[in-house]
Symmetry: C2
Subunit: 330 residues, 2 copies
């Protein structure tokens, strides 16, 4: 059986990315910086109002899988596309990055998911996601051999939005733990945390999830606290390992009594924050599954996140392995 | 009747852009820096070998139309897409930029054209174009009102590749000239010049074309000379106005006895040369149709070209109007 460093599970989404002014978000009722779920009719409406765009494969955990592969790690992905043009593009891009992706596509409707991402002049991204085919991901899509063969299984909190993906997660986590592997999740988005706070905490406290990724606002939302420090102490108790990102302030990893602060890398020009958290997780998990210290894991995460926010689109087009080597990180 | 600054006519193409090493071009027989025409089977083969990609609307004259609109000029476009996903994307992007685009799409096959663009570490782009629906552009697609209403009609030399587009060009040029308008073309690519040298020279010498855009290698190919200066003197005699670009050396505009050298703008980081020539023409024609001096036209061309090569993709995502204003050019 082949071994994977990380198995990622997430919504398989193609991003449609355009710049806009802040007024556009207000006029169209888009929560800034958040992931807004939309239906097919609103997707059509927003697209008709959207400026010229570029398309790039995205989806949070898919971006992480691509990032791990770009570092030279071995990654697999579970996610649902349809047999349409965007599904073809999504499948090409993730496989071309070297990620094992074999989830059976839907034969027809609903179409492959897309997220219209509006990037404001400050570089912040506001996402509008039509889940499409992702609503069909279920436990029948779990490939047991991959779940057992991955050192870490990583999934996105966003998977609590489609109806049956959580069943796929629970099945995968069971297989992974039975094989002595670890399970990790990202809290994804503060509003997502708000929707599923109780379930996320249960996943952590029951030991279904060992490693948690969050940013500062997700952490605060999880514990309904305005204090970063208070949140950090609570997540320290609720999971084996947590890595919390704080944009330009860097990140902090906590494991039991250990506390490891990590700096952000210097940025020439902030272009588009899309994928920052996903790529942080990619760098961190690449480091983690290759046996590195938490400080090194964090530095690899910072590097990948810092590079992806200096370009349009959520997956770095350069080799992260080359970039990490140039900086002496691997 | 509404008036347009520029009517652009070209192959309506969606770009599929990925980075690669130089070896990849050699191994796959792709002429570096050129536009390679491919059939459907080779398109499939190259896509299967291509790395993770991003998609963006492209096509030479379409990029120019988008650039003119981004400067705040009024632009129209003729080009053929199919009624498929990529055709929908292409239509959205050019209309969202404010370009009037009403060419009737094909109902079915062949599909919308796509160009697989490989960008090497030096920033050079090598294009592999499957023309698809573009082969159906013909004289029946000429909208006479737009041809008569545009101060300049601009088309790409690439249109000599599909079978009947040249008939559309000749019809449009006739209408434009009858309305007292000017007609402009880009030589597009040195290999394209090689394929259609005699016809391009005839277009210029017969007065069908008034204004010519070329880069240095296209100019040398047109006159089969290794001397830039010799080429410049010949093109000066063969058309009313010519603008010849020389990458980092800037550009030179010649009109009768006038010779106007223009500097390139300074570049922080060369990312992807795709669209450089198209955007130079956009800036130049925006300046020209708004009554500016050749020096100012050239400066606007240099600005737009310099900006587009510092990003992935052939159409600038920022407002060229804002950029030109910031620099005091308009």
């Amino acid at each position: 059986m082949s071994q994977f460093d990380v198995l990622c599970i997430g919504n398989a989404i193609v991003d449609i990315i355009a710049r806009c002014e802040d007024d556009f978000l207000v006029d169209n009722g888009i929560a800034k910086g958040a992931m807004n779920l939309i239906d097919a009719a609103r997707a059509e409406l927003l697209y008709s109002r959207m400026g010229p765009a570029v398309e790039a494969s995205g989806g949070s955990a898919g971006n992480t899988a691509a990032g791990i592969a770009s570092f030279g790690g071995s990654a697999a992905f579970f996610g649902k596309v349809s047999s349409d043009h965007l599904g073809h593009v999504y499948t090409h891009d993730i496989r071309a990055q070297g990620v094992a992706f074999d989830t059976r596509p839907l034969a027809a409707e609903p179409p492959t998911a897309r997220s219209m991402i509006f990037v404001t002049p400050d570089g912040e991204r506001s996402m509008n996601t039509y889940l499409g085919a992702c609503v069909e991901l279920g436990p029948e899509d779990v490939e047991a051999d991959k779940a057992a063969a991955a050192k870490v299984t990583y999934f996105e909190g966003y998977l609590w939005d489609p109806p049956r993906a959580k069943e796929a997660i629970r099945r995968t986590a069971g297989i992974a733990h039975a094989a002595g592997r670890e399970v990790s999740m990202t809290l994804s988005d503060p509003f997502c945390v708000d929707r599923y706070r109780g379930e996320f905490l249960e996943l952590m406290r029951s030991g279904t999830v060992d490693i948690v990724f969050a940013n500062e606002s997700e952490l605060k939302s999880l514990y309904q606290t305005s204090s970063f420090e208070a949140g950090l102490e609570m997540i320290r108790r609720d999971c084996k390992l947590a890595a919390v990102t704080r944009s330009e302030l860097g990140s902090i990893a906590v494991r039991g009594a250990e506390t490891v602060p990590v700096q952000a890398i210097e940025i020439d020009q902030l272009v588009d924050t899309t994928g920052a958290g996903d790529l942080y997780a990619a760098g961190f998990l690449y480091g983690y599954t290759s046996g590195r210290s938490l400080a090194d894991c964090g530095a690899l995460g910072s590097l990948a996140a810092g590079l992806v926010i200096q370009q349009i689109g959520p997956r770095p087009l350069m080799s992260l392995r080359d970039q990490a080597r140039e900086r002496g990180l691997i």
